[in-house]
Symmetry: C2
Subunit: 187 residues, 2 copies
């Protein structure tokens, strides 16, 4: 599992064996079954999760208990309720397994210690946050300017393997359409 | 102008006079008149802009020349076409003055040099990028789950001074409604 993390980090910053030993000492490995929760709305958020294997959904539930999928995370993606994680407030979203999932978990205090000890890793997280921001902004633009059909096609182009793995009902909840509308678009 | 930048950075990381002298040596001050462009779609993006005074709009224009407001930036905000800036590609958005505006400009190479020279500043930009990502994600959730009326009220609560300064036609383009619909909501 740790090799996956090393390969992932080294796409942006090279590490010596010693540096990676330091990095990996801050992570804990966990395994979850399909339908298990990593984060539950209203509870503390202990970790930022790096997905080694599997598929997660980040879900916002409104007052009428309608579920909205804010995002998916699969291999090589980081996921959490980032606001709650970073500000040590209660989760406003839940994070749940769509498939059996293996993650590496990083606590906030350890994240801060690691960044302070190894500026390379702070640089790595800056790149991740920067491109996370850009991706979120592009999703905002896409939602403003594109039809559901165009957004489905953009998703298919950017993340073809995600579309294959995610059940159609969840994909519909992510795009904000009914299951029936999605079937017409994707057929 | 530079004092504004120092106060802004020191909300997150304290700086010695020597450190701030280094930081400020990388910035160039510029002034623009209302309606002038800082970034034009299709052209190079030379800078990340810190707004000292004034108001900017970040605009995406679709194929039929319809304009969508991706965001506003006023005092103490950073703005650019961040993807184009960071990847040295052509702008896909434009950045234009809604009011006469004073900015401090940071080039990409200087940004990288500054982060390498002063890890505190890299930490500052990580915090900015992290909370920029969280704000963008919350806007996505708000767009998915809230009515236009609710989104108008959220904006009013978060940025009351922005609502007062932005012309109603631009606010409508930001919220994705007609000028008439916005008038009904805000009356």
């Amino acid at each position: 599992m740790l090799n996956t993390l090393r390969t992932h980090i080294e796409k942006l910053v090279p590490l010596t064996d010693e540096e990676f030993a330091l990095v990996s000492s801050y992570f804990t490995a966990k395994k979850y079954k399909k339908h298990q929760f990593l984060i539950q709305e209203g509870e503390d958020v202990h970790y930022n999760y790096f997905v080694v294997k599997g598929l997660l959904k980040l879900v916002y539930t409104d007052e009428s208990l309608k579920e909205y999928i804010v995002g998916f995370a699969m291999e090589d993606w980081w996921e959490s309720d980032f606001q709650a994680f970073y500000t040590k407030t209660k989760a406003t979203m839940s994070l749940e397994c769509v498939e059996d999932t293996e993650v590496l978990c990083l606590q906030l205090d350890d994240y801060k210690k690691l960044c302070a000890a190894l500026p390379k890793i702070e640089h790595f997280f800056l790149e991740k946050a920067y491109f996370g921001f850009i991706a979120a902004q592009q999703r905002i633009i896409s939602t403003m300017t594109s039809s559901i059909k165009e957004r489905y096609n953009q998703l298919l182009e950017k993340h073809p393997s995600l579309i294959q793995r995610v059940p159609k009902s969840l994909l519909a909840a992510y795009l904000g359409v009914s299951r029936e509308t999605l079937s017409r678009l994707s057929s």
